[in-house]
Each structure stands twice: as C-alpha cells, then as structure tokens.
Homo-oligomer: 399 residues x 2
C-alpha cells in the first residue's frame, strides 16, 4: 500500500479522486474479494466490502476509514483504519464468528481537503449530502469536483437511508501525543471535537517607537499578546477536552520601530461538548472585550467556520473498553481533536473511534509512524467490538 503514490522521502501522496487513490482502493478491493466480501463502488467513489454470510440480513455494522493522503503525507493516516478493519474481519472469519447482521468495510474517498477544498468528502456525500456549491468547487488545476466524481448523477441514491447502518467504528492514528505520554497503545475516543474558527482584530494607534512613552501607547500587538495568553488560560481552565489556538497573528504596519496600530489574528476553538465550547467562546469574547477596554483599543471577532462536536454514545465507549479489557489491551479515554469520517457517520448511526498511539504525535508528514504491535492491538479490540455488536440483539436496543 505504501508503494502507491510513494514519495522519495518515505511518505505518500494520494490525493482525492486521483489515479493513486484509485489504485489504493483497487488494492483493498482485491483483498476484500479474497476474503469473500461483496464489493461495490458508489457514486462519489467510496469503496464498500460487505461480509454477508448466507441468510444474514439487516443493516450492517460498518467500519473503515480512508486511503487518500495530504501531499507528502504519511503511510498510516486513514490507511491504518482500513487495514485494521480488514484484519479484524478476517480474524472473525477465521474464529468462526457468525454475525447476526452484515459487517461492512468502508473506504471513504477524499477525507483530506488537500485536492478539493471539501474535507470528509466521501462520508459527507453518503450522510449529509454534498451541496451544489461544494460540487462546483475546483482543484488547483481548475477541475470541478462534480466532474471528478465517478457518477455525479448517482449521488442522491448513494445516501445512506435512515437506519441503513446499525453502528460505525473507525480506527485511526491519534495524530497527537496523548497515548504516547500515557504509555498505552490504544485510546477509546469519547467525542470528536467540533471546530469553531474565528478571525479577530484589535486596533490602537501606530506611533513612533522611540517618541511615545509607555503610558501613552495604544499597542494593538500588546493587546493581542494578552489575548493569546488569555486563550491559553481559558482553554486550560474550561476543561481537559477544550483546546484554543492562535495559529497566525499579523501586526501592522509590522516595522520594528513603529508601535503596531492594528493586529489581526486567528482563533481555533474546539471541544467535544457543545455547551463547554460555548462557555469557552463566551469567556474568550469577554476576555477580548476586557483587554480592548483596558487598553483603549477597538476589537472584533468574526466566526469563519463552525461545526458541532460529536459525542460518542456512552454504551459504545463501554463496549470498546470492555472488549479491550478482555483482549488485554490497555486503553485510556481521550477526545479526538481532529475531524474524521466518523464525525459524518455519527449523523446516521451510533459511531465510535479507536485511536492508535503514533510516534511523537507526528502526522501528515513522511515521519508519521505507528508500531505494528499497536495496530494489531487496535485490530484485536475492533474485532472484539464487531463481534459484540453482531451478536444476537446486540445493537437492537440502540438502533
């Protein structure tokens, strides 16, 4: 798999809806067929492989992830979730498990927004659906998304109907250092953080850095510096799943000997709980207003993007922890700060995630690495969970 779209630096480049992604999907499709799965490719380009032993009916329990990557990305992001899904299903087949409902492996197309500016492409298409505006977006070469799809006319039919999936599970590398720091191979995700992005600004007066004594200044950068630290403090004090980041910050005019009269900055706020995120957002606005008032500055904070967080149902977290304990795999609970296909699948089915420890938390780079032992442990937990969810009446109570 790592040879498809391989880059000289040891990474991979497999962009959405390119020949490289298609070759990776075809490789998976071959493996699926060797395992006796019924395969199909849908209108947006997603690949599905269903294990449906004779006489087994009903909405499937689904698991999977994606095989596309960012440019010069790593070998594990997405692919780890597809490979562990294949391994888990094969283990169940070899163990003689007879599922009470089908188990289907999904390989979603275009999870990364690197080619078309639409992330979670395949999982969005089958759940929320794509908007006309999204379908008209173009890649760097001017190709429209709709023209890159295998069957744009079939998008409506590709939507998962109500009750069409009984539950969804996704294994993914953590892309952070929480598991590494805790010394455990696998994490049970409790929720997927919803991002709220903002563009902020503070305006003061651009005065001469030599001729303006400190008490007479209205320094927009100093105000922004206070806000950067306030954001850090508010995120820390709001809760363990709250993160706030100022990733860029631009003082104007940006000359060494001029006090900045204007400072623009970004704010990235996430939490797995909507109320908690709302509370943090209110505190951030209050902090910015207070800084501006004390320093005699004008201010603004405009939302640029907002997605609600997803909470993993407690019973699904319990299932994952129980089977991990039975398999002897140590786990901790943690939130997902990044978005994943499971975030879209949560719109149509109870959805959970397992994270795999990744070295130094590095991701989206050729240095991305997860140990085969940790991936195997995650596959064991996934197999146990799939078995439990396809035992008689397992998902019946919940969906």
């Amino acid at each position: 798999m790592a040879a498809i779209g391989a880059t000289p630096d040891g990474g991979v480049t497999r962009l959405a809806l390119t020949a490289e992604e298609r070759r990776a999907m075809d490789l998976v499709r071959g493996w699926m067929e060797e395992m006796g799965l019924e395969t199909r490719r849908d209108a947006v380009g997603n690949l599905f492989g269903a294990w449906r032993p004779a006489g087994v009916q009903g909405a499937p329990v689904m698991t999977g992830s994606h095989v596309d990557s960012v440019p010069h990305g790593g070998r594990y992001d997405g692919t780890a979730g597809v490979v562990t899904a294949l391994a888990a299903v094969r283990a169940l087949q070899q163990a003689g498990h007879v599922p009470s409902r089908p188990i289907e492996i999904a390989v979603f197309t275009g999870e990364e927004a690197s080619r078309f500016p639409v992330g979670l492409l395949g999982s969005t298409a089958v759940t929320r659906g794509l908007t006309e505006e999204e379908l008209d977006r173009v890649d760097a070469g001017g190709v429209r998304l709709r023209d890159a799809l295998p069957d744009p006319a079939g998008l409506d039919a590709a939507r998962i109907p109500p009750g069409g999936v009984a539950a969804f599970l996704e294994v993914h590398i953590e892309q952070g250092r929480v598991l590494e720091d805790a010394g455990v191979p696998v994490g049970v995700v409790t929720g997927i953080a919803g991002p709220a992005f903002f563009r902020g600004w503070l305006r003061g007066a651009a005065d001469h850095a030599g001729a303006t004594p400190m008490p007479l200044r209205r320094d927009a950068l100093a105000g922004a510096a206070e806000f950067v630290l306030a954001a850090e403090q508010i995120a820390r004090s709001t809760g363990p799943t709250t993160v706030a980041t100022v990733g860029w910050l631009r003082p104007h005019p940006g000359a060494g000997n001029v006090i900045p009269g204007l400072c623009e900055f970004s704010l990235d706020l996430r939490d797995i709980d909507l109320d908690t995120r709302d509370r943090a957002e209110a505190a951030l606005r209050e902090a910015l207003a207070g800084i501006a008032a004390r320093r005699g500055l004008e201010w603004g904070l405009e939302e640029t993007h907002r997605v609600d967080p997803v909470t993993v149902p407690g019973w699904l977290v319990d299932v994952l922890e129980r089977v991990a304990a039975e398999a002897g795999v140590p786990t901790i609970r943690l939130p997902s700060g990044a978005a994943h296909d499971a975030m879209m699948m949560a719109r149509v089915a109870p959805s959970g995630m397992l994270f795999v420890r990744c070295r130094d938390g590095r991701s989206h780079t050729p240095e991305e690495y997860a140990a085969v032992e940790d991936l195997t442990a995650a596959a064991d937990v996934l197999a146990g969970a799939l078995a439990m969810l396809t035992a008689e009446e397992a998902v019946g109570a919940s969906g």
Copy 2:
C-alpha cells in the same frame, strides 16, 4: 517652503540630495542672505549661514535642523528647526544684540534615511564622518550615495575640527504626544535616546491544533506573547525614559489550525541613559530565558543595531529652562526618543534641543501640524538661549 515638493494630500516629498531638497535650501539661503549672513554649502550638501558682525571671532554657536522629508511627509519635521533658527537670529539682530562669537545656522542634508539608507547624513558627515561602506550605498534607482554628493573629494575638509563649534541647539517638533498631554508648548530635551535593535526567536513544536491538549503544547507564539508583555512591563518599571517595542512578530507555519512551532520577533529598546538601557536589556534577556525555560522552548536574541544615548549637559538644560522662564514660555523636561542631527553634533559640541508640541503626536504624514504660536514660543526661547550663549564668556567655561 511647503510648496516645494508639495504632495496633493497637503504634505511634502523632499528626499535627500534631490532637486526638491536643493530648492528648499536655496530658498533658505536667500533668506539668510537677506539677513546679512555669510552662506556656504559644504561637500556633503549642508548649507550654513553665519552671522559674524565685524570684529566677532571664535567658534560659532550653531543652531538648525534639516529641510528634507520622508515621502509624503509633513511640513514641520526639520523645517520647523530651520525656520525658528532664522526667526531667532533675526530677532537678535533687531534687538541690537552683539554676539561675543558668531552664530551660525545649519541646514543639514539628508536627515531622513528615506532615499539612501543612511540617516543623519549631513550631520554625520561633519562629525563622525561617512564610512566608505556608507558612501557605496545606493538609492532605489541604483545611484550610489558618493555619486549624489556635490563634492565627495571634499568630505574630509568638511569635518568640524576639535573646538570648531562652541555649542549646538536644535528646535524640532516632538513627534510624540507628551507635550500635548501636558498642555505645554515647548519641551526641554534632557537626552536623546540611543536605540538598540534586536531580532529574537522562540522555537517549540508545530503540532495539530485540534489533536494536542493544552498541557502537551510547546507553543512558540504563546511564549512570544509572554515576551511582548514582559517587554512592556520591563520598560514601564525600569524608568520613565525607557521604551521597549515589539513592532513585528511572525509565527510559523502561520496556519490557523497549527500550533506555531517557531516565532520570530523584533525588539526596539531605547533610553537616554546607557546604564538604564543596559539594565533593561539584561532584564529582557532574563525574561526571555525564563519564558523559554518554563515552556520548554529554545530561544535567541541577536543585536542588529546599537547606538549610545546622548545626554544633554545639565548646564545647557538649565540655560534653556532659565530663558524660557524669562520669556514666559511654560516648559517641561522630556527625552527625545527619536534620533536627530543634534545626536551627531553632540560628538563635537555641547548640544541641546527644544521640542515643539505637535498635534496628536502625528509626524511623517501630511497631517503633521504644529501651531504657529508654539513655534513662535520656541523661537523666543531659542533666541534667548543664543543671546545667553553669545554673551561675553558665556560658553567659555564649558568649551
């Protein structure tokens, strides 16, 4: 004067050693000659006009400033010091004052570094001298400074010999809001701040803004934000003449959803007292090292420019305050944060400055404005000081 190099927005553009600067100097030269002054232009392009009544000998007391401007600059910066010098000398002539030594008005060329990257050009040429490297610097059109000078071969002869000037006084608009805030028209400058410029950086880890909990971050921008506030606090607590400014700051990679792994920033530190500036610099380095240590960051702070401050001799401050009091002009003492020709003249003669209140502290812009009443008050104080310094034996004790 304001018509020469006038811009449509009400300002002026008179760059160093251009036809516009020359026309402005020629206008001043005509006024000097009407007043009976002996005029000369030196090798770098400075204009001098000496009032040397019959039988009066010795090193002159000198006063003046410049008539060049930044692009789209104001009508008062520099020109105010030349016009008040002319007004003061004419007032002494009309009052029947007989100076004990000559009084010479100087119009230095190229005070602004806008055309050639050499500020204080004319006053540097006659005091410290220009270096070969400086003479080789070029303007935006590729013209070398040495080729733009009226007589590059005569630069050595243009230097002021030891004891060649008895004292120097310069009137200049404040370019800050201290006088306006204090409600006084004229300020007596106690020293000219020496600038020390630095380029600093902090390095942490560029991690995913969603997937990295707050306690695991090594955010270079958050560290830099602490430093911006530390610089503000250290300048405030070191002394009333200390200023510290972070004018630009660049987080990397500078994406909204990536924790900045590197942050570069400028630091502009000034004080009129060298020991005080050294103390502030030590505190700033200690603060940066402490921030880096607490946050697990690497750091650096490299000097890019350093000029020693100038202290105005106490007796000269006393003279200026005494004559202001006699003339009924309210004054306060204040430092000069910006550099001026008097800074270079201080290398060869006791040098003092008077600041004139300017509206909103605005300078280097067409909105620059000083009231004619305030300029007149400064000319009155300057005339009184010139009279006192050219009374019998006045400057003898000091030089």
